[in-house]
Symmetry: C2
């Protein structure tokens, strides 16, 4: 259901083709709601079927430009204002933490170090992405900037936590 609104949201900023949306996604929404090419094209077809978006132009190579309809915009607004987001925390990295006692202590330390390093890299990537983007007047990018800031803080926190965990690993037992 969320992908549907992710696409409506992107289209609320202006018309675009599936291919356009695919690229925009990678730079923005993919960080908070991953989706594959396959999924996106399927969903766009469904949205067009429900008349929440419409094909408003056709270009070379079978390119179809979609525009959000009034019904689509209304649906998006309704979703935003009348429903509450589900808070689902699914984190495989954290799941494994519970089971570190099952492997040799050295490997457990390596695991935590890797987490810290990956998080630091991710943090750097986000800050770099931030530099590279034209934070213009468009709503999507202005609000997207807030989301990016969250990502930057969250990755920094994960790295810090992993380093802290290294210092606070349960003492080895006999």
């Amino acid at each position: 259901m969320s992908l549907r609104y992710a696409l409506l949201g992107l289209l609320s900023d202006g018309p675009a083709s599936g291919y356009d949306l695919l690229r925009t996604f990678k730079l923005s929404l993919a960080n908070v709601w991953p989706a594959t090419q396959s999924q996106m094209y399927t969903e766009l077809t469904k949205l067009a079927g429900a008349e929440l978006i419409a094909v408003t132009d056709e270009g070379p190579r079978g390119r179809k430009e979609y525009t959000i309809t009034a019904a689509g915009l209304e649906d998006l607004r309704t979703w935003l204002t009348t429903t509450t987001p589900k808070e689902v925390h699914r984190d495989e990295t954290l799941l494994r933490i519970f089971f570190l006692g099952v492997i040799p202590p050295g490997l457990a330390r390596t695991y935590l170090t890797d987490i810290a390093e990956r998080a630091e890299r991710e943090h750097a990537n986000l800050r770099e992405l931030e530099q590279g983007i034209d934070w213009n007047e468009r709503d999507l990018s202005r609000y997207g900037h807030l989301a990016l800031e969250y990502g930057a803080r969250a990755t920094a926190l994960k790295a810090e936590w992993a380093r802290w965990a290294l210092e606070n690993l349960p003492p080895e037992q006999d």
Copy 2:
């Protein structure tokens, strides 16, 4: 795939029935890897079929006690030491942030305030859970404590970020 290892992980700490695991889950793994009752019983049946766990006792009311097998423990260790966790960030709350420009500014502010409040409540719940748990010698709880600390920090961060975002909302446009 992760649920499979989540269950193997819990069973590595000692034998338990599906019902036992269900309760343990709620207090621990559910926070990093949610799963439903339905999913768990199905997965346990599959694990037993693959002989990674075995029924070692049967009690009243059809209760089946499962014990991890040597093959199961090996599988768990292999997973922990030879595969890298997928970092997937799927957060509906953040997804909506991108589209706040589509709704009236007052509602956008309410949305951010709600995020802060929910995160603060979640934070309080986790700290309370922390008080309530017997942090004994068992590996699962010792390492689980590290995961809980992450959750506590992450919820605090989310609340802080939401309050910061309220102060840094894009200026209204004409």
